[in-house]
């Protein structure tokens, strides 16, 4: 993407939050929704418009686990690491997922609770798709679908 186009899209997002108090998190969410990550070029533009220092924007961007500064893989797979999933075999699923996705075009991330605590272990794909009672076999089938290979 040419830098001018990126800046234009960031400016348009900033405009849509013009009247919002404490707009930084909503802006970062929209930027990440647009680009799948928050490009470094966006940081100065956000800082200027919201009258913050670049350090302040950078501080917020890096504080929250949800935001990422580099593009993720084709899909983002989040595996729950929290206690309720641990009680249902979550640690074994995490170990399996790490092995399975070691050489993959997908991004593996931890997540601490999806609110599916009675039907674990649970995973979340691209924020919106949820899967419960995920065994290693079920995990492999889901991943194969995502990777587009049998």
């Amino acid at each position: 993407m040419i830098p001018d186009e990126l800046i234009d899209r960031v400016r348009s997002i900033l405009n849509s939050h013009h009247h919002q108090a404490g707009a930084l998190l909503p802006v970062l969410h929209d930027v990440q929704a647009e680009f799948n990550y928050v490009p470094s070029e966006a940081v100065s533009e956000i800082a200027n418009t919201l009258k913050l220092s670049r350090a302040e924007v950078h501080g917020v961007l890096t504080y929250y686990h949800h935001f990422r500064q580099t593009p993720p893989g084709k899909h983002v797979v989040r595996v729950c690491r929290a206690e309720a999933c641990q009680a249902q075999g979550g640690d074994a699923l995490v170990a399996h997922a790490e092995r399975r996705l070691a050489q993959s075009s997908l991004t593996l991330e931890p997540v601490y609770c999806l609110g599916l605590c009675a039907i674990g272990p649970s995973i979340q794909i691209d924020e919106i798709n949820l899967h419960a009672q995920v065994t290693p076999g079920k995990f492999d089938a889901l991943i194969a679908d995502l990777e587009g290979t049998p």
Binding site: L25, H66, F67, A87, L114, C117, Q124
Partner: protein, 507 residues
Amino acid sequence: MSYSVYIPCDAAALALGADRVAEAVAAEAKARDVAVQIIRNGSRGMFWVEPMVEVLVANHRVAYGPVQPADVPSLFEADFLVGGPHALCLGRPEDIPYLAKQSRVSLRRVGVVDPRSFEDYLSNGGGKGLARARLMTPEQIIGEVIYSGLRGRGGAAFPTGVKWRTVFETEAERKYIICNADEGDSGSFSDRMLMEGDPFCLLEGMAIAGLAVGAKSGYVYVRSEYPHSIAALQSAVAVAGEWLGGFDVEIRKAAGAYVCGEETALLESIEGKRGIVRAKPPLPAISGLFGKPTVINNVITLASIPDILAYGADSYHEFGVGRSRGTLPFQLAGNIRYGGLVEVPFGLTLRELLYDFGGGARSGRPLRAVQVGGPLGAYLAEGQFDTVLGYEEFAGIGAALGHGGIVAFDDTVDMARQARYSMAFCAHESCGKCTPCRIGSTRGVEVIDRIMAGQVEKIPLLRQLCETMTHGSLCAMGGMTSYPVLSALDSFPEDFGSLVDSGNGLV
């Protein structure tokens, strides 16, 4: 005529395939040339039978579950649209013992209504609380809430009406109502179920709080891990905005920081900053969001308000035990056979929840440890299962009810590993403002690693570290991490390689 079929849109039902079931029902109905109306309700909270499909027969519902897409043709063959018999038939949902034994108050409409239909909300008792509150003075509303005995359901259990009174009495040109929907505790999902299954109820509770304290706007701060809750709330705000009578609600998406469930970190986050804990005082009720007096209440707290106003404080106060009045939606999670949402009055024992409702461990093995109240809650052993579920009763055994999340572990659990996880989670999620939490949690992981490697003489050091974190941390993150760590050590010393724990004295 068209048949009404209810298929939940709750995230847990979706994770178990509810969308595919809805597609299969629609396709099968089309193939058979039968007119069906598919209504996406919330979940009743019995996850072992989700996706649970309900049909409307005359004036009652008949439930089937757990339904998978492959079951759909046989359901049609069995005339399930008129309640026909089938292996998956569960009868009337409200007659299922798990539900029949509950007292659903805060979540009375969840699983019953269409969360996107405002008409459905109103025709199922919604709106009465706000209508009555509009005829009352702020003092009367606050008096009603105080008398109901409602305490904060997020975990701190502070009397809600007292908090409201402080905000009411603080003069300011602007005040705010904030709903804390940052339900980060593992084992908790009642907030999520309410937001996805009955979002108007939360908005009504916020509008009543606004009338009580003189606030014209509010925020719902929802975790980013709950996209379905966010969508349900946004849809509810779009539909019911005007009905709220000039009370504006903005849905704020959080960004994955557990500590933002702490109320002052949450305020910083809404203001667009890093979610760093503020020192108290000042209380948020006096100087909160943007320095203005602010009510911060949990989802279930606010969702309990419409009923209290509609039916009077007595109706709520008559439930419960001691100073724990009303009901608490407990959440049975982890390794448990019948996991789900159990809203009951305070006063049952933990054992009744775990066995009478939960049916013991799903693995069929004995339950060994139960963590109550999230990652900052104590691990309880078999000998403590007869504790009565009440705030004071749990404080009496060095534990906390918290948000009512209950995570069960069978006898394969390694409690030293769980204690290590608690410290590691604190290190991962610490906001970094205070030293005991920021540094103590990292040192805590190291000390537990040494103990697990056989250096049992480090146990007193771990205890001292926990004591420093408890008394020196600014908020519950560092202050309560000692609950799971020390309870694991006290109740399960054999897992730490030491059958004889030396207590606080040096070995």
